[in-house]
């Protein structure tokens, strides 16, 4: 399953997200992207691992930290950057901004900046798929903070009850803004939250794109067999501040050491090493991919900057 083609696609997505986020971080100081940005540097593997199992007919809903989900699902890069610049060519015409990316052509149906808010939306999409007897699945991405919201539990109960084609994906970065997981919940066991509804859960290394992919593939297989929803928790770390372009080595209980440790576990580097070691991709290929992506990103920023400003719909 992890062949050249797979590796090329996954690597492309990982690098696209990483480099896009880096470009946003670096351009942000110019204050032309006038909206809060919650960057996903360090967390790319979850979005990519999940999306490697999905097609355009599969549906994704996301949260405030949606850049990675949007890009991994195949969302249009130019439209995303234009959205951040508040342009009429933005993916939601400049009305939504960074927290509300959407590309309906590839099944990315939006993001809510209300924590937990889009979890039931994915369940509703799953209900549509089931009622229409479609073979597709609906995915909701949410953070560890969202797992404290009642609507998460209510949504799992419903999805399990109706055996809906839903994959619940929790990006557990141990933090909500700067509040550590331990000051919000007694145990670090989010993947077990579905058990009481009969929803199997797995906790995987969220910085390992292959592990995330495999867990998602299993979840999708269960859905195909009519066994209903699954819950996947990916443990990960955000390298930047909750919001904005700066590196975060100090908010909440964080330390420089912890940050360094996670820097070592960089999901992009990790997968690149795997590809090179296993001869899935050559150094020339990775470089070429990187170059191509950089050009695309440059172009996206150029276009966005010169695009016309947003208009009322």
């Amino acid at each position: 399953m992890i062949d050249h083609q797979w590796a090329e696609k996954a690597y492309t997505l990982l690098v696209t997200i990483r480099k896009t986020e880096e470009a946003i971080a670096s351009e942000y100081k110019n204050q032309e992207m006038r909206c809060p940005v919650h960057l996903s540097i360090g967390q790319e593997a979850i979005a990519v691992g999940v999306s490697m199992c999905l097609g355009n007919e599969d549906i994704v809903f996301s949260n405030h930290r949606c850049h990675s989900h949007y890009l991994a699902k195949g969302g249009n890069l130019n439209a995303m950057i234009a959205e951040l610049y508040g342009k009429s060519t933005g993916c939601v015409k400049g009305l939504g901004g960074s927290m509300h990316l959407m590309d309906d052509e590839v099944g990315m149906l939006g993001a809510s900046s209300i924590v937990g808010g889009s979890i039931p939306l994915a369940v509703g999409a799953g209900l549509t798929l089931k009622m229409r007897e479609k073979p597709h699945v609906a995915v909701t991405f949410f953070g560890d903070g969202a797992s404290e919201e009642g609507v998460f539990h209510e949504s799992m109960n419903f999805a399990a009850l109706k055996k809906l084609p839903v994959v619940f994906v929790c990006e557990n970065n141990f933090t909500a803004t700067s509040s550590p997981l331990s000051s919000r919940r007694p145990m670090d066991n989010i993947f077990r939250h579905g058990e009481v509804f009969g929803i199997p859960g797995t906790s995987v290394d969220g910085n390992d794109v292959v592990a995330v992919y495999e867990a998602t593939r299993d979840a999708v297989q269960r859905i195909r067999k009519g066994e209903g929803p699954s819950l996947i928790e990916g443990k990960t770390f955000r390298m930047l501040k909750h919001v904005g372009p700066e590196i975060d080595t100090s908010s909440g209980v964080r330390t420089q050491e912890e940050w360094n440790r996670w820097q070592e576990k960089c999901p992009v580097k990790k997968f690149e090493e795997l590809c090179l070691n296993e001869d899935l991709l050559s150094a020339r290929e990775t470089e070429k991919i990187q170059k191509r992506i950089e050009m695309k990103i440059d172009r996206a920023f150029e276009l966005a900057k010169s695009d016309p400003v947003a208009q009322w719909i």
Binding site: G110, I119, A125
Partner: protein, 350 residues
């Protein structure tokens, strides 16, 4: 076309749901108890018998998730109808209604519609108390991106509900429990009462009453009583608070120059204030007396039936207000307050 056929409000809602589901296979119903024998006071049972549990589905007690599931289904092409036995329960779903349903179209740059219908009933009578008899239309009417309908007759209940099943915005239907057994002539075939179009319930030259929901009935009774005194009241039911049919209201007040607004919710910061403000703004020079409001006093609903009777303003309050409007300063009469038959008859239990 058999215009003479009469149905109760309850039956009219039921028929609208069945016809709406027949016309569009995307329509389905969700809610706690929609499939049981009661069928939400007899409004969902026919649909359940006809379409079965796959399209008329019982739901867990999880109002916020159910609303969100409705949003998710709606933006992916279905037309969910969510039903609540009391609109008080919508307070658990405010996040999904206000933060999501009302905004998903806007936040998607207009690309996704959210054609969700939420039916919720106002309770009144038989000591249901503070948490089962609120009339919360003001909360929803303030929110852009959703529509709010308040059907007052069986005819409108069917016609508005059928319209809501074709509308591309989320519609909140605030129904009133005391109207459920009231009858009206209701065409058999589907018809569509447009949103934002009110209806002239009664013609009269002396003053206008703009009434919503159950207060339309009370206003009609008040008009009857006033007619005996020679006072002719014009009654307008806007049928929706959002969008609000200002043209019809202004046309009437332009003529009568006197207005009373009657609502089933609390007075302060209620929907009556918006009607008043708009009319004053447009007909400032025509009004011959300050507009009067008849709505609930600003306290929670008491349980004891003697207090319930004092709590709800009815025909007497409307008649008094009309007298004051017509003769600035005249005190209200002191006849004993009467409960409307619907309230007096109502025995709950729930």
């Amino acid at each position: 076309m058999n215009k003479k056929r009469t149905l109760t409000y309850r039956e009219a809602i039921s028929e609208a749901l069945v016809q709406g589901m027949e016309a569009d296979s995307n329509v389905f119903i969700m809610g706690c108890g929609v499939d049981d024998e009661g069928g939400i006071f007899g409004t969902t049972q026919d649909a359940f018998k006809r379409f079965g549990g796959a399209r008329v589905m019982d739901a867990p007690l999880a109002e916020n998730a159910i609303a969100g599931i409705g949003v998710g289904a709606a933006v992916t092409g279905m037309r969910p109808v969510i039903v609540h036995a009391r609109n008080d329960f919508l307070l658990l779903a405010m996040d999904q209604i206000v933060n999501h349903a009302s905004k998903w179209n806007f936040m998607s740059g207009g690309k996704l519609d959210c054609p969700l219908v939420i039916r919720a009933i106002v309770g009144r009578g038989w000591g249901q108390g503070a948490q089962h008899s609120q009339s919360l239309q003001a909360l929803f009417s303030h929110i852009p991106g959703i529509k709010v309908m308040l059907p007052a007759t069986a005819y409108d209940a069917k016609g508005l509900l059928l319209s809501s099943l074709r509308d591309n915005q989320t519609v909140i239907s605030i129904e009133h429990r005391l109207l459920y057994e009231t009858k009206d002539s209701v065409p058999v075939e589907p018809y569509f009462v447009p949103f934002g179009k009110g209806t002239l319930k009664r013609k009269g030259a002396d003053l206008t009453i703009v009434a919503f929901s159950f207060m339309v009935k009370e206003a009609m009774d008040a008009a009857h009583r006033l007619a005996e005194e020679g006072i002719e009241v014009e009654i307008i039911d806007p049928r929706c608070s959002s969008p609000l049919d200002m043209d019809l209201i202004l046309e009437s007040v332009q003529k009568t120059c006197r207005l009373l607004v009657a609502d089933t919710g609390w007075s302060s910061y209620g929907i009556s204030a918006e009607v008043c403000t708009r009319v004053y703004g447009q007909l400032f020079d025509r009004l011959k007396a300050p507009i009067r409001r008849v709505a609930l006093p600003d306290v929670p609903t008491p349980c004891a039936s003697n207090l319930e009777k004092e709590y709800y303003p009815g025909v007497d309050a409307l008649v008094d207000a009309c007298h004051i409007l017509l003769d600035n300063g005249r005190e209200g009469n002191t006849t004993e307050k009467l409960l409307p038959a619907e309230h007096a008859r109502f025995q709950g239990p729930f």
